[in-house]
C-alpha cells in the first residue's frame, strides 16, 4: 500500500465527510430545537441538487444564480414541510413524529421521482474539472469548493447561534422551551426557523456534492442516514463536533472502500452508527465536551 494512494483516499474522504457534516448539523439543529429527528433531512439534500439542475438546464441560469435559487426553493420546501407535517400533529409522540417525517420523506422522494424522473443527472462543476496535484494525490477544484463552503457555513452557523438574538433564542428553546416561551420567545417560530436553516444547509450540501457524485431522486436516503451518523458521532452537537464526526466518517468510508471492499462501503457507516448507538449514544466526545446548541 502506497502512501500516495492513502493520501488520495483521505482527501476524497474529507470532502465527502464535509458533506456528511453539513447534513449532520442540519439534523442536530432540528433535534436540539425540537427533539425531533427529521427523517426527511436527506430529501432536502436531494432537492438542492435537482433544483440546481432545473435552474441550470430549464431556465438557463448561470451557476452563481442557479445555486441560490435552488437553495431558496429547497428551503421553501422545508418551510412547507414544517407547516404541513410537523405543526398540525395533535399527538406529537416520538413514534408519530418518526412516522410522519418518514411519510414526508417518501412523499417528497416520490414527487421528485415524478418531476425529475428516475434517471441520474449530472451537474457541471463550479469551476472546471482540471485536477490539482497535491503531493502524490490529485484533487478536483470541486473538492476545494466543498471544503471551503463547508467551512464558511460552519462559521456562519456559529456566528448565528452565539452572536445574534434569533440564534440565542433558538438555543434557549433547546435548553427549555417552556422557559423560553415565558421570556417572550416565540417557540413555534423558532421550530419553523430550525427547519428553514437545516433544509437550507441540506440543500447546500446536495448542491456542492452533486457535480462529483451525480444526483437522482433517491440519493437523499443514504446521504441523510450518513449525515445522521455524523451527528451521532458528534453527540448531536450543531458545532464542530459534528463536523469532526462527518470528516471521520468520510475518511473511514473512503479508506474502507479502497482497502477492504467497495461493495460494503455503505455498510461501514451503519456499523459505526450501530456501534456508537450501542456503546456511546452520547457521541464520541462525550456529553460534556460537545456543545449542544
Amino acid at each position: 500500500m502506497q502512501f500516495d494512494q492513502l493520501l488520495q483516499y483521505a482527501v476524497s474522504g474529507l470532502s465527502t465527510g464535509a458533506i456528511y457534516a453539513l447534513i449532520g448539523i442540519g439534523f442536530s439543529i432540528i433535534y436540539n430545537a425540537t427533539g425531533i429527528i427529521n427523517f426527511a433531512q436527506g430529501e432536502f439534500v436531494m432537492l438542492g441538487g435537482l433544483f440546481t439542475l432545473t435552474f441550470l438546464d430549464l431556465l438557463k441560469l448561470p451557476v452563481w444564480a442557479a445555486v441560490p435559487c435552488a437553495v431558496a426553493a429547497s428551503t421553501l420546501a422545508g418551510l412547507v414541510f414544517e407547516r404541513l407535517a410537523i405543526r398540525p400533529l395533535r399527538q406529537p409522540t416520538p413514534i408519530n413524529l418518526v412516522i410522519i417525517t418518514i411519510g414526508g420523506s417518501i412523499l417528497i422522494r416520490g414527487l421528485a421521482m415524478l418531476f425529475w424522473g428516475k434517471d441520474t443527472h449530472s451537474i457541471p462543476s463550479f469551476s472546471g474539472d482540471d485536477p490539482i496535484a497535491i503531493g502524490g494525490a490529485t484533487i478536483l477544484p470541486q473538492h476545494l469548493w466543498i471544503l471551503g463552503i463547508t467551512m464558511v457555513i460552519v462559521a456562519a452557523n456559529r456566528f448565528y447561534f452565539y452572536h445574534t438574538i434569533s440564534g440565542k433564542a433558538m438555543r434557549a428553546c433547546s435548553y427549555n422551551p417552556r422557559a423560553a416561551g415565558l421570556v417572550g420567545i416565540d417557540v413555534r417560530r423558532m421550530v419553523l426557523f430550525s427547519f428553514v436553516i437545516s433544509s437550507a444547509m441540506g440543500a447546500v450540501a446536495g448542491i456542492i456534492v452533486a457535480p462529483l457524485t451525480m444526483t437522482a431522486y433517491d440519493v437523499g436516503i443514504m446521504l441523510g442516514l450518513k449525515g445522521f451518523c455524523a451527528a451521532i458521532i458528534g453527540g448531536m452537537s450543531s458545532g464542530i463536533a459534528t463536523v469532526v464526526g462527518g470528516l471521520i466518517l468520510g475518511v473511514l468510508e473512503s479508506l474502507g472502500a479502497g482497502l477492504v471492499s467497495s461493495g460494503y462501503k455503505d455498510a461501514i457507516a451503519f456499523i459505526i452508527l450501530l456501534l456508537l448507538l450501542f456503546l456511546r449514544p452520547q457521541g464520541l466526545f462525550g456529553k460534556r465536551e460537545s456543545e449542544r446548541v
Binding site: 418518526v98 411519510g103 416520490g110 421521482m113 436516503i221 445522521f228 461493495g263 455498510a267
Partner: protein, 319 residues
C-alpha cells in the same frame, strides 16, 4: 372473550370460503400476498402497537427468513419443512442478540438503529453473491409439499399461507389478551411504571422483538417457497416503510387492523394499475394523512367518523 372467538371464527370462515368466489382468477395470487403481508404487518404491530417499540428494519428479518430457506433448500437440498424452522430459529437467535443493545434505545434513536440494521442486512444480501446470487437473485427454490401434494398453484398456496396467517392471528389475539399482552401495554404507556409493577421490561421488549422477527422469518420462508425466486430488492428499506404504512393505516395495536392495512396496500396497486409509479407518493401521503387526521388507524377512525356523522345528523351531539 366469547365475542373475540366468534369474530375469529367468522374471519376464518370468510378466509377459507373466499376461493369459492374468486378461484381461478389472478386475484387468488394477490390474496396469497395479502396473507403474507398480513403476517408481517401483525409481526410489526406486536412490536409497535403493543410494546410501543418502532422498527424500520423488519424487511430485513423477512428477507433473512426467505434467503435462509431459499439457500438451504435450493443450494443444499434440504427439505423445506426442515429449512423453515431452522431459519426461524437462526433469526430468533439473531434478533435476541441484537435485541438487547438495540432496544435500550428509545424513539427516534431506535428508529434510526433498526433502519441501519435493515440496511446492513440488505447490503449483505447484495454482496454475498456466492450464496444469495446478489442483485440478480436466487432461483430454483422448490415449492413446499405435504404428503405428496406439492403447493405449486395459487389455490394450494392460498390455503397453505392463510392457514399460517390464521395461526398468527390466533397467537397474536391470545397474546394480546394474556398477562404478557397486558405487560406489553404497560411498557407502552410507561416503561418506568411497568418496571415498578414488577414487569421485566427489558427482557419483555427483547422477547417480543424476537417473536416479531420469527413471524417475519416464517413469512419469509413461505414467500420463498411460493415465489421460488428471490431478489434483494424485495427486502429493502422501502418494504420496511410499506409494512409500517400497513400497520399505521389499519391501526396500531389492532390485529384485524393489520389485516385491513395489509389487504388495502396489497390490493390497491392491483386495482389502480396507474398507481404503480405513484406508490411511494401514495404511501408517503397516506402515512402523513393518517398520522395527522386518524392516529388510531382505520379500525378506530372509521367508527368514530360514522358516530360523529350520525350524531351530527341528529343535530343533538348527545351521543
Amino acid at each position: 372473550m366469547q365475542r373475540e372467538r366468534i369474530k375469529f371464527l367468522i374471519f376464518a370462515v370468510l378466509v377459507f370460503s373466499a376461493p369459492l368466489l374468486f378461484n381461478g382468477g389472478y386475484l387468488m395470487n394477490v390474496f396469497v400476498f395479502v396473507g403474507i403481508h398480513t403476517m408481517l404487518a401483525i409481526a410489526l404491530n406486536l412490536l409497535l402497537g403493543y410494546a410501543g417499540q418502532i422498527s424500520l428494519g423488519h424487511a430485513g428479518f423477512f428477507g433473512l427468513g426467505a434467503y435462509a430457506s431459499g439457500i438451504l433448500t435450493a443450494t443444499f437440498g434440504w427439505n423445506p419443512w426442515l429449512a423453515m424452522p431452522v431459519s426461524a430459529l437462526a433469526v430468533a437467535a439473531l434478533a435476541y442478540l441484537i435485541g438487547f443493545p438495540i432496544l435500550k434505545l428509545k424513539g427516534h434513536y431506535l428508529a434510526m438503529a433498526t433502519l441501519g440494521m435493515g440496511i446492513i442486512i440488505y447490503i449483505v444480501f447484495n454482496e454475498t453473491i456466492d450464496y444469495t446470487g446478489g442483485p440478480s437473485g436466487l432461483s430454483g427454490i422448490p415449492n413446499m409439499s405435504l404428503g405428496g401434494v406439492s403447493f405449486d398453484s395459487d389455490i394450494k398456496n392460498y390455503y397453505l399461507i392463510w392457514t399460517c396467517t390464521l395461526l398468527t392471528v390466533l397467537l397474536s389475539l391470545n397474546l394480546a389478551d394474556s398477562r404478557i399482552g397486558r405487560a406489553l401495554r404497560a411498557v407502552h404507556d410507561s416503561e418506568v411504571a411497568a418496571r415498578v409493577m414488577g414487569v421485566n421490561a427489558r427482557l419483555l421488549k427483547v422477547q417480543i422483538f424476537a417473536l416479531s422477527a420469527v413471524i417475519c422469518s416464517l413469512a419469509g420462508s413461505l414467500y420463498a417457497h411460493t415465489m421460488t425466486f428471490l431478489a434483494p430488492s424485495s427486502f429493502g428499506f422501502n418494504f420496511s416503510v410499506e409494512l409500517l404504512t400497513m400497520v399505521v393505516i389499519g391501526g396500531l395495536g389492532s390485529i384485524y387492523g393489520s389485516f385491513l392495512g395489509a389487504a388495502l396496500l396489497t390490493l390497491l396497486p392491483e386495482f389502480l394499475r396507474a398507481a404503480h409509479d405513484y406508490d411511494i407518493v401514495i404511501y408517503g401521503g397516506l402515512l402523513m394523512v393518517m398520522t395527522i387526521f386518524m392516529p388510531g388507524g382505520l379500525v378506530r377512525g372509521i367508527p368514530a367518523l360514522v358516530r360523529a356523522l350520525t350524531s351530527g345528523k341528529r343535530g343533538g351531539g348527545n351521543a
